[in-house]
Symmetry: C2
Subunit: 233 residues, 2 copies
């Protein structure tokens, strides 16, 4: 089998980010906010072929939350409606909240997102100080949660590889390249190729996926699939 | 003249970072802390061929400061001992201090450092929130100070180019690639090449220099000079 045929034979893992931490009903009435809405939205994506549910939870007023009880309710609903779907909980939704960002890890979801560096977001710093990163990684190890590394910049890819080298992260790494966030990395095909090259150089056994935020979503999906990677909607 | 000969004919601008914000006399008794020590250290580098003095100032106890009076005294001393030397004041030395980081810009130094994104440092987040970045850039414009962009990661290079496109930064950009900071970008030759390629793609008229921190200093100097760039010791 040629390399290309082998790539074609490798299934593409589609993750669905049902809610995120930013959009509100005012932005889009269809965005699922309550747990019941999130479960049904996930169910629809599951029927359509999504294999991973990337989950944030919200307070009743729609603001972002890291409340373990809400995450537990969402996990229960997804388990009932979407048997076998991989549940990935976000630890990024409340930058600045410190250890509260990892309070749901004892729920032992299949996966959790992990940022290993800091960067700018549209109106603020996305703060992931080294001690918090190390603590979240150790909590994921303790509760047997597979991290998905959220790489918002090139150094985050290398940092993840160094953390796998010294045992702070498990192998193989699963790294998500995130593009299209204002003040961070734009949607850029040449950069995506260099991200892949760099990950292969520092962590040859790693898996990768890519996500475009907002208007860049579809184009990043297409680029990732064309390169044999996984992707997030 | 060939491209290579043209590159060889282009003088290499050497910047000297005399003090930085971290090392203490306990680390190295030769690190210049007082203004008098800084002036004499700069004078020696000037005699040896350095064209830019990259300046931080310290409090009497050696902790980092952004005190405009100390910067003014240092500028006076450098002007007297090193006629024609380009003075570049750091706006990065006290991350977290907000607008105090730009309090020396009304002194109208030739240049000032400017970080346009955030990243991790060895023990903390180097915080450069978007509104502070915009304010520092506008202060530099108001006081006719040329920014040196400090790029600690790939997205910082692109962000600087976007800020030049929309008029927030003057052209041509002068961008410093910084490698060797723990938890940010390691010393990596392939990444340096991609930094140069990316800068050329987004801002073809830009100038660049490179700095290696700590043990990476000499190797980054050599890589930069070999590629026709400028460099910092
Ligand atoms: Zn998310
Ligand atoms: Zn259902
Ligand atoms: Zn400096
Ligand atoms: Zn002198």
């Amino acid at each position: 089998m040629t390399k290309k045929a082998a790539d074609m034979a490798q299934p593409c893992i589609i993750a669905v980010a049902i809610t995120g931490s930013v959009p509100t009903k005012a932005d889009n009435p269809a965005v699922p906010i309550t747990v019941a809405e999130q479960v049904e939205s996930t169910h629809a994506a599951y029927e359509a072929g999504a294999a991973i549910a990337h989950c944030h939870v919200r307070n009743d007023d729609g603001t972002p939350s890291s409340d373990p009880d809400r995450f537990a309710a969402l996990m229960d609903g997804i388990a009932q409606h979407c048997p076998g779907m991989i549940v990935q909980l976000s630890t990024g939704g409340r930058s600045g909240a410190g250890a509260a960002r990892g309070g749901m890890l004892p729920l032992r979801p299949d996966m959790a997102s992990l940022s290993v560096g800091s960067n700018n977001f549209p109106t603020r710093v996305y703060e992931n100080p080294p001690d918090l990163v190390g603590w979240l990684a150790s909590e994921m190890r303790a509760h047997d949660v597979m991290p998905e590394i959220e790489a918002f910049d090139l150094s985050h890819i290398i940092q993840a590889a160094l953390m796998a080298d010294d045992g702070r992260l498990p192998r193989p790494l699963y790294v998500q390249f995130v593009m299209g966030v204002k003040n961070a990395m734009p949607v850029d095909e040449r950069v995506l190729d260099f991200y892949i090259e760099t990950l292969n150089r520092y962590a040859p056994d790693a898996l990768w996926c890519a996500a475009g935020i907002g208007a860049g979503q579809i184009v990043v999906n297409e680029w990732a699939i064309a390169r044999g990677g996984h992707t997030r909607t």
